[in-house]
Symmetry: C2
Subunit: 239 residues, 2 copies
């Protein structure tokens, strides 16, 4: 049974056997969670760091007028902010999209790990920089891309991120409903549907209730104008 968190960090930095052991220990216990569970809510006082071992989640915020904006997706191997414990309260909520498994690491445990294992600290910091790059790329999409490009770009990003810590599969399935896509991209479900139809009639994707499958990744990337640079999948080699 693989641990996608360790897989992901190993991609950034070559971890020592010690470090892998420490990470394995820290993420050994995983709590099962069903879909649509809030892992933490806006206004809550942050608890331990948590890590998605399995299943997808999202960061989101509900506005006073009731509309929702999704700001990030967490997939297996992704963690919430390392230093989340320094905050007085959360400025957004995190909810699971699918069922899955979540590990938690207490603040002191995390601090010790970062202190004693330089490789782990390095890898986690690179992961955090990649997360920030993803947020910035999201802003670029919302500001300066057409709705078709936006949809294609997000699906493309999810495809690349998921396949990385995942076994490569020919047709990849993204467990995201059209409503979630809409709230992530600042559009209406109606218009998302039309853009997806567009991609479907070109045989780039196919759709099922609650998920989207990528049939032709390179065509998708071309529609999106996708450049994976911002994901920083190769960190700088040690100076």
């Amino acid at each position: 049974m693989q641990n996608r968190f360790i897989d992901k960090l190993s991609h950034y930095v070559d971890l020592s056997a010690d470090e892998v052991a420490a990470l394995t220990r820290a993420t050994a216990v995983g709590r099962k969670v069903v879909a649509k569970t809030d892992l933490i809510r806006e206004g809550d006082r942050p608890g331990p760091v948590f890590i998605m071992l399995d299943g997808w989640a999202m960061r989101y915020k509900i506005l006073p007028n009731g509309s929702r904006q999704i700001m990030a997706f967490l997939m297996p191997g992704d963690a919430c902010d390392l230093h989340i414990g320094l905050l007085a309260e959360m400025d957004h909520s995190i909810q699971t999209i699918t069922s899955g498994r979540v590990a938690t690491i207490s603040r002191t445990e995390m601090d010790e790990m970062l202190d004693q294992h330089r490789g782990i600290a390095r890898a986690m910091y690179v992961a955090q920089l990649a997360d920030e790059g993803t947020l910035r790329a999201w802003i670029v999409s919302m500001g300066r891309r057409s709705s078709l490009e936006r949809v294609a770009h997000l699906i493309c990003e999810l495809f690349v991120r998921a396949r990385w810590s995942d076994v490569a599969e020919a047709a990849f399935e993204v467990p995201i409903s059209q409503i979630i896509l809409a709230d992530a991209l600042g559009m209406t479900p109606v218009h998302i549907n039309r853009m997806l139809r567009h991609l479907r009639t070109r045989d780039i994707i196919s759709m099922r209730r609650g998920s989207i499958s990528i049939m032709n990744p390179s065509a998708l990337a071309s529609v999106a104008g996708f450049d994976e640079n911002y994901l920083h999948r190769r960190a700088r080699l040690p100076a």
Copy 2:
């Protein structure tokens, strides 16, 4: 002569005299820069961490079609990412908006400082979390706020962030042109102009070539639906 970087970090965490001294030493030398200087460009291999001692800057990206998207503003006291040195290459550029002064801290110097001074490390991590919160708030604005609200929200944020590490002034001036506002909010300068006119006729702001002054902050916040929570100006007290 004040050091706004230290001012800002002191707001997050009570720094010891030692820590203040270390920060003072690290940011003693400031290079003067004129407006519209690229401090670092997309694709560059990152160098030292840098800190805005004086003047404003922005993070931005130019798309293949030539359009620009601004993703963040840096103002006095703000720093680029702490661990920027871990990346193989930059995924965006940073350019000064006004003239100003910039300090740089080498990677090894930074690592030592974070190791030896827990307070500095804490404060910097909180600052980074606030930056991330700001990125997420930006996404919320672009996705789910009307253009008038978006404009008001951004001006409001800049007002709050600037006044914090700044002396409180009644009418605050933001050194941002309408073109920059447009590229930050994913709109056209024409439309920005119309929204600003709207705010001006209500005596909420006033405008000059290249800058905007806030006359009535609370009316502005009310138009924007502004909630400063995401700026995390009060970190959690030590557990």
